[in-house]
């Protein structure tokens, strides 16, 4: 084992594939000498040259669009957007092109591309640099959407994402880049669609992903002092979704709290609530509760942002309502 930060885990996954496969390349805004806005690609241009780690103009449309064209024409591009919020500028290229091409063309075009999308709030970046937009992405057939929560998953899932023949949206929570974690000496691919049970418990299941895994674990720790036994599931992959792990846990606990940093209205956790209610309803003995951000843009002022985003206390309160 070794210790890497979340950012280093992401980088390590990309490095391994780039060493292995000459058709893997990275492009995005300031990913070269500058090392990416959050330093994730730091040093990679020195190792792989500017032929494979390429700075683009500030043109999100063509960053995603060129990834689509390059993937259709034989490469395995990793496109980095500086913030998931900037996806709006390239949304046609993602939604109408990347996600649709294989299907529209009768399965005859491959689309092996990864789009890295720094997401989430908590860094005082206000309304246009702090959003969590995974619900937009999971809504689109043709996109895989993953959200690793630690360095080991970041590295292992990156290997799988690059190897995948489909567009994979690789979401990263930017408040976690410096977070350290244990990573195996030999990184192996982690299959997409496999959740991880981070804490076993018998009374209530918290299903979450990304940064909120840590909030959920803290909440579970707090509640254990009151004798409440909480299970925490880290989805890791939003689509494909690991229903088996959800089912097993719901059958065990009968109570579910869903947690996400998205604004609550229309967020991806609403979909999970619907799946549980449609498919596992008779295992439930309490209403499914959702903990999300307030339905507001993300405000700048620290006190306001902290108020809007969900935290471990919100999770504690939700759990207390149903146990």
């Amino acid at each position: 084992m070794r210790t890497l930060t979340y950012a280093e885990g992401i980088r390590e996954g990309m490095r391994i594939k780039m060493l292995e496969d000459p058709n893997v390349l990275i492009f995005g805004e300031d990913v070269g000498q500058f090392g990416g806005c959050f330093g994730v690609t730091a040093g990679m241009v020195d190792e792989f040259t500017d032929k494979r780690v390429i700075d683009t103009p500030i043109s999100e449309g063509v960053i995603i669009g060129a990834a689509v064209g390059a993937a259709a024409a034989g490469l395995k591009p990793i496109a980095e957007l500086m913030f998931v919020d900037f996806l709006t500028v390239g949304m046609d290229q993602l939604v109408n092109q990347a996600a649709k091409m294989r299907y529209m063309f009768g399965g005859k075009v491959s689309m092996p591309m990864v789009v890295r999308l720094p997401s989430g709030g908590g860094v005082r970046a206000a309304a246009q640099h702090s959003q969590s937009l995974e619900g937009w992405l999971t809504h689109v057939p043709g996109l895989k959407v993953i959200y690793p929560s630690n360095a080991a998953d970041a590295a292992g899932m990156m290997l799988t994402a690059i190897e995948d023949d489909n567009p994979v949206m690789y979401l990263e929570n930017k408040s976690m880049y410096a977070m350290k974690g244990e990573v195996p000496d030999t990184i192996v691919p982690i299959p997409l669609g496999k959740a991880a049970v981070k804490r076993e418990g018998s009374q209530v299941t918290v299903i979450t992903y990304g940064k909120q895994v840590y909030d959920a674990l803290s909440a579970a720790e707090t509640l254990s002092k009151d004798g409440v036994d909480v299970e925490v599931i880290d989805l890791r992959s939003l689509y494909p979704l690991d229903k088996e792990t959800i089912k097993a846990s719901v059958e065990k606990t009968g109570k579910v709290v869903l947690v996400s940093e998205e604004v609550k209205r229309g967020g991806f956790i609403g979909e999970i609530a619907a799946v549980i209610s449609e498919e596992f309803f008779f295992s439930l003995d309490a209403p499914i509760l959702r903990v999300g951000a307030l339905n507001t843009p993300i405000p700048f002022s620290p006190g306001l942002e902290d108020y809007v985003l969900p935290d471990q206390l919100d999770i504690v309160h939700a759990i207390k309502k149903i146990v």
Binding site: I54, G61, V62, Q93, M101, G106, K108, P240
Partner: protein, 328 residues
């Protein structure tokens, strides 16, 4: 430019193929045999023909909603095209794409596209792939005049220029973005002027003259293969039909259409063939009959083919996941 008679005849044959395919599609659509909507390429045949006559099988093209002419010119199979227009299982896309989404990766056809301007950026990506892999492949990006007002045009031209990507931008300026005439939608007369902003060559040619298109694209392809970067070739042309079949074309004068009918690229080519003794009228007649038979065979192939089974609807979304079917 000195083209062999054989090459000239193959270009004529290609133009005929597009014309006859489109004329038949027009009738089949009006009869209700083709669902959805179709955007016909009639009148613009010289552009796709002249441009693609410069390409190899492993070169790429990106296309538009008015894509049939591009697909034919890049070697598309008429049977598979027609079956796709019918929505049949045997079509290019197994009936999942239709007229606006025909692609053939084996021939470098990266797809017709229903979003105006989407091909620009995809073409830059294909060009990046060619350059990155160190091949001499090029990508011809076909697009209409109106798509040059989309942000993708700017993004793609800028990127291709700074990275010297092997992309040839072929603008089919047919004078209208649906109902809006060029002078109402942009302040330049020649779209090739827009090349100046990217410090790349921009030329305007008569898009109804297949040789003029061929020559301009030949030069552009040479530059691209030599890693000298992109070129913008504007081909001024006209669509004889409306934006889509059923468009009443109230936005343009009958006299304007008449003027362009007199410049019909197919008839013009036929006159050239006879005047220059490349082919006799009899030989032309024989070729027309041959192509009409090919198109008729394609129609029969489409008509005789089955529709896709409903199970097909949940396949091909991903390479490895078949979407589950739930009670709705």
């Amino acid at each position: 430019m000195k083209l062999s008679n054989e090459k000239i005849l193959s270009m004529y044959e290609n133009m005929l193929k597009i014309r006859k395919f489109e004329e038949r599609a027009m009738i089949l659509f009006s009869e209700g045999q083709i669902p959805g909507f179709v955007h016909l390429y009639i009148g613009e045949e010289a552009v796709a023909t002249g441009a693609c006559a410069n390409l190899n099988e492993d070169d790429f093209i990106t296309s538009t909603h008015r894509g049939h002419g591009h697909i034919v010119s890049k070697g598309g199979d008429l049977n598979l095209m027609m079956a796709e227009l019918f929505g049949k299982e045997t079509g290019y896309c197994k009936g999942k794409g239709g007229s606006m989404h025909i692609a053939d990766a084996t021939k470098g056809i990266l797809g017709a596209n229903g979003i105006v301007g989407a091909g620009h950026n995809i073409a830059a990506g294909a060009g990046l792939s060619a350059k990155y892999r160190g091949t001499e492949q090029v990508c011809v990006c076909f697009f209409g005049d109106a798509s040059t007002n989309q942000s993708t045009f700017h993004e793609s031209m800028n990127l291709s220029s700074i990275w010297k990507l092997p992309v040839v931008y072929v603008c089919e300026n047919n004078g209208y973005g649906i109902s809006m005439s060029q002078e109402r939608q942009m302040a330049v007369k020649n779209i090739s002027d827009r090349a100046t902003a990217y410090n790349i060559p921009g030329v305007t040619v008569d898009g109804n003259d297949v040789f003029a298109v061929y020559e301009a694209v030949e030069e552009a392809v040479k530059r691209a293969r030599k890693q000298q970067g992109p070129t913008l070739v504007e081909c001024k042309t006209y669509r004889h039909r409306g934006h889509f079949e059923g468009d009443p074309t109230i936005y343009r004068a009958a006299s304007e259409l008449q003027e362009w009918l007199e410049k019909d690229p197919v008839k013009r080519m036929e006159s050239f063939l006879v005047e220059n003794k490349v082919a006799t009228l009899e030989e032309i007649e024989a070729l027309i009959n041959k192509i009409e038979t090919e198109v008729s065979n394609a129609v029969k192939f489409a008509q005789d083919s089955p529709y896709p089974a409903v199970e097909q609807a949940v396949q091909d979304i991903f390479s490895d996941i078949v979407e589950e079917v739930k009670i709705r």
